[in-house]
Amino acid sequence: MGIESPPSPAVQMRGITKRFPGVLANDHVDLEVYPGEVMALLGENGAGKSTLMNVLSGLYRPDEGEILIHGWPVHLHSPRDAIAHGIGMVHQHFMLVETLTVAENVILGLDTVGWVPRMEEVHRQIEALSEQYGLRVDPTAYIWQLSVGEQQRVEILKLLYRGADILILDEPTAVLTPQESADLSRTLRRMADEGKAVIFITHKLDEVMAFADRVTVLRAGKVVATLRTAETNKVELARLMVGREVLFRLEKRTCQPGEVALEVKDLQALNDKGLPALRGVSFQICAGEILGIAGVAGNGQRELAEVITGLRRATGGSVRVYGRDITNRSPREIIEAGISHIPGDRVGVGLVPNLPISDNLAMKAYRHPPLARGPLLDRSAMRDFARRLVEAFRIATPSPQTPARLLSGGNQQRVVLAREITASKGILVAVYPTRGLDVGATEAVRKALLEERDKGAAILLISEDLDELMQLSDRIAVLYEGQVMGVVVPEETTPEAIGLMMAGQRAEE
């Protein structure tokens, strides 16, 4: 005591290398995290952030390298080992058992709770932790009843309950409103102040600057820099992350709305649980206009897209295309009426992963000549068609015969875009079109959408990325619990104002 010595790192990762078939996800990565600090792990999609942290949390075994916890070398063979060393991770896709209660999820896997856990006591302990860290949640609720924000709090409580002092959060803000993000940053700070080491993964520069003390930047599996946030700035970080200068604005021409292409009136629908998901949604989109839909995931966006494209029944209200009522028509009729769909679930709904790209591309055009010859398919016409689209949309693939599942996410999305834009007759419903794509692919998708708009398409753009909505949309409607909280023009509003609406506050008229 008394002698100033730097604190020893809580975590030291040295030369960590992790390979997957055909991918070098981590390439000799070094990382240090100290007790009492919030450290950001920054990188583009696919940079290897999650992989690195999965190694630290015992889920993945590294091919090379060593890990020291509080100075001691450790071998983490399973998440159990990592937990024993005080390491806990909130995964990008939550690891919660939906059919269990909050408290049951919290004590899952613990052997200190006795054979027959006393749930009242567990409830009390969880409430105490909730109080201490500002993580409000009802311990007796079932996970499926909770909002995404609440589920995330459960994930954090799980770690705190185990007394973890090294906490990892993988893209924790992706699913939160701006207000919830601010709460989270306070929670992270409180944990760090207690001497815990906090690592959070992100690809958003604002968050790095707002939340973190230090930042390590990963690019293509390698560490490119470790910096103090006080000594850097967003532009530098962006350059480090992407490896080149990045334009923050896309070219956007002023819009010229024509006549109303898509009109939704008082639309109502149920979700998969049979509960109301849409409660009277109304809006209009003109030809040559992009209407963005903002909102925290799970507030009716998915259902809205499904009703419009005929994949879910409307229980009330109407959908009109150029004045023609298409409510509850079959998807086929709706396609013929001119609506194209870029689904949120690219691999599950947008593509048939095991079929070749050429078949995936032909999935809408196959009914009519030139691809159809009577009841038969014209294979050579399909090949030409595929070759043309692969070239026009710059789909990077060994050949048009490659199965779609082997493509990277960005190229899979290009396949969907190519098919849908080609088949489109004026209306495009795009759901989370850039989700999970890296910066390059994202730029390409956004450009394609703007081009379609300029050619006169009416586009409904559902996105969880506020920046994207602000950049692309001509107007933004905010959905909250199945209702439109307000429609705003991006140039005349702020992310904070939209954030408030996403949390359920109506826009002042």
Partner: protein, 317 residues
């Protein structure tokens, strides 16, 4: 009238016992995320083994023990194929049933005295014994409380299995592994061990179900002794919504229809016997349709979400 109720109740419970053992076994198996369609075959081999061993050793308990071991062993094969080798669970289960049916029929032909058939042999059997005090009650005394040991054991087993599943730490792990194995894994629950353990435990109960057929219910060996009960058990699991207590209702319902059908045949109705024999199965289908339609749609209960899906830690999902 009292006699009629007593006798119907008695047959209901006797017919329902082996069915309930099998259903409970399948419930625990499926709760861990493993679908075992080998119930029918496992029961059949269990029944044959139980009788053969009991007959030759003249020790009924030895027969029972052998059936439990064989049931566990057959489930172990299924576990190895599906959990370790990640074979398709449906295919593996069907294979076990086909294999088990064949094996049991072979055993039936050869395991009698001097390599002859077991059909028609008299062996040791579990006798029905009235319980003290309870056995003297009207109606339920001679029916519910005059049963064999295996049925009495079941009276204890059902609440125990229910309590274990919903109130203990291990039951929590089991439910989590069947719902979301990855979530369980990251919280330090060993998914593979859990799945192995409950698949084998389920097989043991299926062996028990078989033993009750040949040592308690029918008191002997007959070809096709299970008569599709293994398949009905699989249906009852759905009816029961994977809940041990609700499985009782299902087993009683099925046993009850069986009993009624027996009574009607004994009373000599003009309805052809084949039709009466069909009723339990037809009714099962009907109940299944109704229940599935009502509950799965309306409530958040249904099959364990990971049922039938193998788990590999580092695989990309």
């Amino acid at each position: 009238m009292e006699d009629l109720i007593t006798s119907i109740l008695t047959i209901t419970i006797r017919a329902g016992t082996s069915l309930l053992y099998a259903t409970l076994g399948e419930i625990y198996t499926e709760r861990s995320g493993v679908l075992n369609l080998g119930v029918e075959g496992t029961m059949m081999v269990g029944a044959a083994t139980a009788f053969a061993v009991a007959y030759h050793s003249d020790n009924i308990w030895l027969g029972l023990l052998a059936a439990l071991l064989v049931g566990g062993l057959m489930a172990l094969i299924h576990a190895f194929l599906t959990i370790s080798l990640r074979a398709d669970q449906v295919v593996s289960g069907l294979a076990i049933t086909l294999f088990g049916t064949g094996l049991a029929s072979f055993m039936g032909q050869r395991l009698g005295p001097g390599g002859t058939t077991m059909v028609g042999l008299q062996g040791p059997a579990f006798q029905r014994i009235p319980l003290p005090v309870l056995g003297d009650l009207p109606v339920v005394g001679p029916s519910v409380f005059t049963q064999d040991v295996l049925t009495y054991f079941l009276y204890l087993l059902v609440p125990v299995l229910w309590f274990y599943l919903y109130k203990t730490r291990f039951g929590l792990h089991l439910r989590a592994v069947g719902e979301n194995p990855q979530a369980a894994d990251v919280m330090g629950v060993n998914v593979t061990t859990t799945r192995y353990a409950y698949t084998i435990f389920g097989g043991v109960l299926m062996g028990m179900a078989g033993a009750h057929l040949s040592l308690g219910y029918l008191k002997g060996w007959a070809d096709n002794i299970t008569g599709g009960r293994g398949w009905i058990a699989i249906a009852l699991v759905i009816f029961a919504m994977w809940d041990p207590i609700r499985a009782v209702i299902g087993a009683v319902l099925f046993g009850g229809i069986n009993a009624l059908q027996f009574r009607m045949q004994a009373a000599g109705t003009t309805i052809p016997a084949s039709f009466l024999n069909m009723t339990p199965y037809f009714f099962t289908i009907l109940v299944l349709v109704m229940i599935t339609w009502w509950e799965v749609v309306r409530k958040r209960v249904g099959a364990p979400a990971a049922l039938g899906i193998p788990y590999v830690r580092e695989e990309k999902r």
